[in-house]
């Protein structure tokens, strides 16, 4: 019981990390980005590539992987999404789905379809006991990085002019433009942030478990589940949602592995029916 909780929370950190960008893009640009999972996977593979191919130290490879993914996100926004998003929302959906396919195919061409993992020698002890639960050190490192980077994201969004501009665009696009904010640039920056954090999630995850291009969709779906639980448009919601989803999916896989997916989706439905705004979602009063 206790170990299920601990391991679930540890996983939850990465789910939250992956979901931040998904939530941000949905809230600010107003699109469900089906290519989000592809960005997570891209970040993981890019990090692995930098570390293995060029011998870059992990911390640098991770930052490179994250920023590279952010850049890819911004390019996707400028070249594709920006051109269609004023049209039918459905078209953007189809488009991001197509982008996911293209990114995945290109990733497969470049890196192959094999699963890759980045093996780290940290010099840390293998782990320690937390009560009766053995906590692997590196899991904890990943969890800490998740929380710290979440804090960085909170500061960027909450305390900087850039973050204010992003939130202003989310709240009211026209008013933001009338205040001198360049909407297109802000969306690109939003996609950059989203991609960077998605890439960071992938960069962390690739040290824990193998990653391959074909895995992108489950990341998109998981991100979706996380923000449904945590609440749309709130970064704190994504964090809490990620942790709750981590425990939920871990518990389901532990206690009833064969029907685990049914359980997680069941909880999603319950949330949609009884608490559509999620645990921490903005109430209707200040919804646009």
């Amino acid at each position: 019981m206790e170990d299920v909780l601990v391991y679930g929370l540890l996983r939850g950190g990465i789910y939250a990390l992956a979901a931040f960008g998904f939530s941000l893009v949905l809230g600010v640009i107003g699109i469900v980005n089906f290519a989000h999972g592809a960005l997570v996977v891209f970040g993981g593979l890019l990090t692995q590539y930098l570390a293995v191919k060029f011998g870059v130290p992990y911390a640098a490879a991770m930052i490179g992987g994250a920023l590279g993914t952010g850049l890819l996100g911004a390019v996707i926004q400028r070249l594709f999404v920006a051109r269609t998003f004023t049209l039918e929302p459905l078209m953007v959906l189809v488009q991001t789905f197509g982008i996911a396919t293209v990114v995945t195919e290109l990733g497969t061409l470049g890196w192959g379809s094999e699963e890759r993992m980045l093996r780290l020698k940290t010099g840390l002890p293998p782990g320690f006991m937390l009560g009766d639960t053995f906590v692997p050190s590196f899991d904890l490192v990943v969890f800490a990085v998740s929380l710290v980077s979440a804090a960085v994201l909170f500061v960027v969004l909450g305390r900087t002019e850039f973050g204010r501009a992003i939130r202003a665009c989310r709240d009211n696009r026209e008013s933001a433009q009338l205040s001198g904010i360049n909407l297109g640039r802000t969306f690109e920056k939003t996609m950059f942030l989203s991609g960077t954090w998605a890439g960071l999630a992938g960069a962390m995850f690739v040290t824990l478990s193998p990653v391959a291009p074909y895995m992108h969709f489950s990341w998109t779906v998981d991100s979706f589940l996380v923000i449904t639980i945590g609440g749309l448009g709130s970064m704190l919601g994504a964090l809490v949602g990620g942790l709750v989803f981590g425990v939920l999916s871990f518990g389901a896989s532990f206690y009833a592995p064969t029907i685990a997916p049914a359980i997680t989706f069941g909880v999603l439905l319950v949330f949609l029916v009884f608490r559509p705004q999620g645990l921490l979602g903005a109430g209707p009063a200040i919804r646009k």
């Binding site: 002019e161 204010r164 501009a165 939130r167 202003a168 989310r170 709240d171 009211n172 026209e174 008013s175 933001a176 433009q177 009338l178 205040s179 001198g180 904010i181 360049n182 909407l183 448009g233 903005a282 009063a285 200040i286 919804r287 646009k288």
Partner: protein
Amino acid sequence: MLKVSNFRGGYRKGVAVVDGLQIDLRQSAVTSILGSNGAGKTSFLRGICGLLPWRTGEVELNGERLDRLAPHDIARLGVRMVSEGRGTFPTLTVEENLKVGGYGLSAPVLATRMEREFNRFPRLYERRGQIAGMMSGGEQQMLAIARAMMSDPRVLILDEPSQGLAPIIVDQIFDLIPRLTQEGVQVLLVEQDVGRGLEVSEQAVVIEKGRATLSGPSRELLADPRVRESFLGLS
């Protein structure tokens, strides 16, 4: 300073909601645009700010052409609009709303400007940490005006600032307009209350179905029987 000529624009290609309007703000500190519902007043203002899907004609600010520019560039050059319905950022606090109004300014300048706006609207200072979505209509209107003023605009466009507000608040806002002009800003005002709109302004334009039907000094229009009949309910 602001001069608009031959302005046409609309939402769908070939359908002009604004059809050949001119205004010249150089003659007056406050200019009103009058017209019944759906006449095209808001559309015209949006057109000036670059927010209409299509537009033609010239918009000049101190000789500089604005009509090809994107909305954020127009805003940066000093044309600020307070939209119909205010358009505050509901999840941002009062302070944050003001800071967005001063987007691009350095921190010390932001601080002095914010202090100035808080002096202008002490109510906003009291509520500075509050998120805008939780504020009353009157407070939001003040916030919207203060936000626009943060950038020291050359032209302030107000689209129906009295809409949905209690009479006492409306009085405050109309008292405010002449004071704003003393700071060197020119005001372009759309107002449903035509009487008030004309009283506060020096020049006015009456538009119908996107075209100007009357224009001239507000004082003369106030006396014009057509205006008295159709807008003021007098004969």
